[in-house]
């Protein structure tokens, strides 16, 4: 099957600022694709190009196999978009705004709307100017989730939601995916990414630095090992692939590359292990690694 989103070497500049620099992004049908990167990396810009709101300077952008700039209207009937910073018409009520979005996209399904309003605990009779940030975001989420679409484009959709609503959001996305919807999710909330996403693309300074399943990305990062043995384990610290070794009383802590793991385990086993914990990299470590590692090498004025 053709990918739902297929971006190759996409470049976009604002004056002298190069927001996207040969970006690649592929989202397959039915998957939840995490789109991650530090602030100013170009996530929102890429999404706005995908929506035909911005024009690509160079590169190829395909959405459902079509050109998002030229065929915007046809393609938009098949997707729903939730921005991170939702601005609504202050004179309308939340309910009116939801109906408006749904009907501009296709049609309103009152049952689905009522159901979502209840789950998100949103009062639709209030004027949108009186909503808090989280409630404005709920309006956009309900409007998106109430429509019958093939693709959800979500740009930090939960940045204003409380933890309870965050859970509701995750449930809703899971249900949508179960019914065959594809999701592109840009987010800074790692727990959400870990729970929802099948694959992720990490971008920095407008370029994709990693793309793959979370498991694959974990392979690229080191696990942490804490071990105590009857014999002195210090010799292990010198093995290839072992880093950051520190003594902690009788125990030794270190990090180890994925490839070196079998050899290290064999060596430890020979030393009479008393206790051993191996912690796979947390997402946080993963991101610190990918966001931060190459920063000094990044060209000045790149990532911000």
């Amino acid at each position: 099957m053709n990918p739902v989103i297929d971006v190759r070497a996409l470049t976009k500049s604002f004056g002298s600022v190069r927001a996207l620099d040969a970006l690649d992004l592929v989202v397959e049908p039915g998957e939840v694709h995490g789109f991650l990167g530090p602030n100013g990396a170009g996530k929102s810009t890429a999404i706005r190009v995908l929506l035909g709101l911005l024009r690509a300077d160079a590169g190829q952008v395909r959405l459902f196999g079509g050109d998002p700039w030229a065929d915007a209207v046809d393609l938009h009937h098949r997707l729903a978009y939730v921005p991170g910073d939702v601005n609504l018409w202050p004179k309308l009520t939340g309910g009116e705004a939801i109906d408006l979005f749904c009907s501009l996209r296709g049609s309103v399904d009152p049952r689905r709307k009522a159901d979502l309003l209840e789950r998100f605990d949103l009062d639709p009779t209030k004027k949108t100017r009186t909503y808090s940030k989280g409630n404005r975001q709920k309006v956009a989420l309900v409007a998106a989730l109430a429509s019958d679409v093939e693709l959800l484009v979500l740009d930090e959709p939960t940045s204003g939601l409380d933890p309870l609503m965050e859970l509701v959001f995750q449930q809703c996305v899971t249900e949508a995916v179960a019914s065959g919807t594809t999701v592109l999710l840009s987010s800074h909330i790692l727990a959400e990414v870990e729970k929802l996403c099948d694959r992720v693309t990490i971008i920095r300074a407008g370029t994709a630095v990693q793309s793959g399943t979370l498991a694959e990305l974990r392979h690229l990062t080191r696990s942490t090992v804490a071990v105590s043995c009857t014999a002195d384990p210090t010799s292990v610290a010198g093995m290839p692939g072992v880093h950051d070794a520190v003594r902690d009383g009788a125990a030794l802590r270190f990090t180890v590359d994925e490839e070196a793991m079998p050899a290290v385990m064999r060596a430890l086993a020979a030393l009479d292990i008393v206790s051993l914990t191996v912690t796979p990299p947390t997402l946080e470590e993963l991101f610190v690694h990918h966001y931060g590692d190459a920063l000094p090498a990044a060209p000045a004025g790149g990532a911000r």
Partner: protein, 552 residues
């Protein structure tokens, strides 16, 4: 710089109760300076617009009333209860002069203008600030409980002083007696203060800025009607006239037998209302109101569900506001009809200049040229309405709509449809009101319909300005250029004849291209050409808009 910086800013710890009471006015001066800075353009614009009204009337009145006899004819209309209802108590009608006319007929209207200014300013700096949550930030700093309200009231005081001074200066420059001019100016200023204080009270009551302005506006409307009914009952006003702050302002009898003390009533009321506002402010939380907000609809009406429906909903309020303003102006202007007719009767040589035309034709000719002024106002509306779309785009709402199944052309077209229709409506309403006012004064009921239709000859030229504004939007050129073209056209159209510009320039200026219907035959060619130009501008705009990035 790492990703591990996701901690939310902690809310400021709650202040100890009673803390703010120790120094409720702390920070007022700093806040007032900030507030005045925010209004550094707004206040002068109000002052110029309000004193500019005199400019308008001193340009129009000599045309309509070239001699005392003509003015006297106008005075007769003001003696009439309906005339008195619309204007004032009618002091000095026996020997009408420009000053007396101004004091009798315009103080009410001008007082409404300063009252609206004061209401908007107070609400803007109190309730509107709380609504956006900015007030919370301010109050969390070293700022006393009453500082924001006090700063807003100081702002309104300054605004009314500026308006009063500007107005007095223009009046004195127009050769009017200084003490009476000052009394009139102070009168409109103190009415402004009264309604500033009214708004300070309603801002405590209502939870939303619009309801706060609405409640204060309703009080203003009531004040105007009370004095209207009172003045209609009896020459010089009756008890009901004295029940209204606007009535007090008119009871100074400026240019007739000046007395200042009624203005003290305004000052006393303003002080009392201000005190009430402080008491109420002390009894509520930041952000909360004493009257809860009303709930709206949970589902949209079908009429809203479309680009045009949305646009109509956004424009509705401002179209109604413009319509009311234009109607008031047009009725007042039309009510000079009898005066125009009589001035020509007195000067048959003038009638000859107009080609020996009959009375009716002279009246129609003069009113037809006044129609142009209303068309200019509607052109201003159109440019403002199109510029609203810029804000829509900058605040990300346009992107949200375009991300649904709406094309850029449809978005632009739907919005233009509404603005174009609203402009047509405003023109027709202005013409209708001008004709109705004139018809009532000369006793010719056919004028209303005639002028409602005649006003429509200006539709093409107004649409041209809409096209220009939308082209600037499509190509994202600064809106200043559109204003420049519009203002130049207005100046040439209004003052061109006085500046003795060559006829070629006057005829080629946009508003000069329009035939003076109904006194002239509507020439089709220029109108068709203008519609063509408007369509071409809109087409270019759509093409340019399709080619560019959205700003947000």
């Amino acid at each position: 710089m790492t990703a591990a910086t996701a901690t939310a800013p902690r809310p400021a710890p709650p202040r100890a109760p009673g803390h703010a009471d120790e120094a409720p006015f702390t920070g007022t001066v700093r806040l007032a300076r900030h507030v005045l800075r925010r209004d550094r353009v707004r206040i002068p614009v109000w002052a110029l617009s309000i004193s500019g009204l005199i400019g308008y009337f001193s340009a129009v009145l000599p045309i309509a009333y070239p001699d005392p006899a003509a003015l006297q004819a106008r005075a007769a209309i003001m003696k009439d209860p309906s005339g008195a209802f619309m204007t004032g108590p009618g002091y000095g009608l026996d020997d009408y002069t420009f000053g007396r006319l101004l004091a009798n007929e315009m103080v009410g209207m001008l007082a409404v203008a300063t009252a609206l200014m004061s209401i908007f300013l107070v609400v803007r700096h109190t309730r509107a600030e709380e609504e956006t949550g900015r007030a919370e930030l301010v109050r969390a700093g070293v700022v006393g409980r009453h500082a924001p309200l006090t700063a807003a009231l100081l702002d309104v005081l300054v605004a009314n002083v500026v308006v009063t001074a500007a107005f007095a200066a223009v009046m004195v420059a127009s050769d009017l007696d200084a003490p009476d001019s000052l009394a009139v100016s102070v009168a409109i200023g103190v009415v402004g203060l009264v309604f500033g204080a009214v708004a300070a009270v309603t801002a405590q009551l209502a939870e939303h800025s619009r309801s706060a302005s609405g409640m204060a506006g309703a009080a203003l409307g009531l004040a105007y009607v009370l004095r209207g009914v009172g003045d209609a009952r009896q020459l010089g006003g009756s008890a009901l006239s004295w029940a209204s702050p606007i009535g007090w302002a008119q009871q100074t009898r400026a240019f007739v037998d000046l007395r200042w003390w009624p203005l003290l009533l305004c000052v006393a009321l303003a002080v009392a209302l201000t005190a009430l506002a402080y008491v109420l402010a002390g009894r509520r939380d930041v952000g909360a109101g004493l009257v809860p907000a009303r709930a709206g609809r949970a589902d949209a009406r079908p009429g809203l569900l479309g680009v045009a429906g949305l646009s109509a909903r956004m424009e509705r309020g401002s179209v109604v506001g413009w319509a009311i303003g234009l109607v008031v102006f047009a009725v007042l202007t039309g009510s000079m009809g009898q005066g125009i007719v009589e001035s020509f009767e007195d000067q048959p040589q003038l009638a000859e200049i107009f080609g020996g035309a009959g009375e009716g034709d002279i009246l129609r000719g003069t009113l037809a040229s006044f129609l142009g002024f209303f068309a200019m106002a509607v052109a201003v509306y159109v440019v403002i309405a199109v510029n609203r779309l810029r804000r829509e785009e900058d605040e990300g709402r346009t992107a949200a709509v375009l991300a649904t199944g709406v094309s850029r052309a449809r978005w632009l077209g739907g919005s233009l449809l509404v603005t174009g229709a609203a402009a047509t409506l405003l023109l027709a309403v202005s013409g209708l009101a001008l004709g109705a006012g004139a018809g009532a004064s000369v006793g010719d009921s056919s004028l209303a319909g005639q002028f409602a239709l005649a006003a429509l000859v200006y539709v093409p030229v107004v649409w041209c300005f809409m096209g220009l504004a939308v082209l600037a939007l499509g190509a994202r050129v600064a809106p200043g250029w559109v204003w420049l073209v519009l203002i130049a056209s207005i100046i040439v159209g209004m003052y061109g004849p006085m500046m003795e510009l060559p006829d070629a320039v006057l005829d080629a200026a946009p508003f000069g291209l329009v035939p003076l219907v109904p006194s002239e035959d509507p020439a089709a060619l220029p109108l068709i050409l203008m519609v063509g130009v408007a369509a071409a501008l809109a087409g270019l705009a759509a093409a340019a808009f399709r080619r560019r990035d959205l700003t947000a």
